[in-house]
Symmetry: none
DNA sequence: GTGGTCTAGACCACT
DNA sequence: GTGGTCTAGACCACG
């Protein structure tokens, strides 16, 4: 697992949270599966156990994982998570489109262009 | 001009940059028009001239303004700026939609939902 | 005569000096010819007579002009000027080439590329 | 590292930027290597941390370095940088030669003189 | 310890 | 008056 981009200006723990969230949402990490131990993940990414600990705490707070003392950390089996992410993306989308509208740019046209772009990329890229 | 939201966690200078960029893109500030002096804007917003100075430097770097020593700072007459902003928004949109697609969410459906959302808000809001 | 670029960050008087020097060296302004009066040049360029005065003083100091009280300012008939400018350009060239050499770039090759570039431009451009 | 010439009229931060850029381009500072901390460099050069900070920000903006919060600033591993610098020098050269041509001076002859000059200096100087 | 931001106050060049 | 630079000293987030 390569979770950290050292050139990224965002805090390390935040990058770890986001990376693992993405892995869970994409079903690479399945519900019930055990996450790497704090120590091993820290070793593997050449970072401080405290930093990984902070990331795991945040993950649990957001409902993506649960902890069993003496056993480890596991992926939550919540299927509410995807719905929540969908809402999040929808909000982000609306925000961008609203800004475009404010500037006199047709949001619908922008949308269709963006859709074409990703479909084109998907065919040639990693689809 | 009310450019700063003190509850916003982003740096002051960055908020100033974004606010003025928006004013320029929305044609509230017209090409050739003089921007407030560093000192007056600092006074008006109860901040430090250095902070405003940093914001103005960034604006100029991005091509939104030009400086005449001893005279003041002026809005650039570039009509390329809007096109650049459009591209920027388009990239943002595509990024969000691509992320949705990765998660198995239909981007087109998400788009249409977002468009409905902002049209609804526009009617009741600031349209 | 359009001598000033208001977006240029250099001082006005310096721009005027450089512009007039160029006009003299390119023989647009001929030896013995009278330069515009301080007042008229100030009017024409929407700037302050003091600024033009400062430029004229600098021009005279550099030997490009001489003043006759009550008559005006005239272009010096020195043909030493061109030789001096040649030396100046030569120094600039050497400096650039030396910097290239320090970086491990072949100066001779760079030179021949530059020569090609300007010959190409001259044919299509203002030759 | 002796980065500042106090007799130089250019801003301190600009001198720092240029000095470090040169060190990077000459491979004295290698990709991935850590730059001195803002504070230590400020101490070493008897200047203010803010000034060094401004220099480092500019370096990063130009793509010569990247920052990891809490870790330090590192030399970018871009090998595009040298090519970019070469283009920059080439442009400078062409500009000088074009100016010479405008004045009726043979650019090729000027070039060969400059090349002789630097070769002579190199033998007697720091070659 | 690191870099990032901000304030207060100063001096400079230019108009 | 304008912007540009610099210093001194402070606080913050991150590791």
């Amino acid at each position: 697992m390569d979770l950290i981009d050292w050139r990224d200006s965002r805090p390390i723990y935040e990058q770890i949270v986001e990376s693992i969230k993405k892995l869970i949402l994409m079903d690479v990490l399945r519900p019930g599966e055990q996450l790497p131990s704090v120590r091993s993940l820290a070793m593997e990414n050449a970072t401080n156990p405290n930093t990984v600990q902070k990331a795991y705490a945040e993950l649990e707070r957001q409902g993506f994982s649960y902890t069993v003392r003496g056993r480890g950390v596991f992926v939550a089996d919540n299927n509410v998570l995807k719905e929540r992410k969908r809402t999040e993306l929808l909000d982000e989308l609306s925000e961008t489109l609203r800004e475009a509208a404010d500037l006199g740019i047709d949001p619908a046209k922008l949308c269709s262009e963006a859709l074409s772009a990703i479909q084109g990329a998907a065919k040639g890229g990693n689809a």
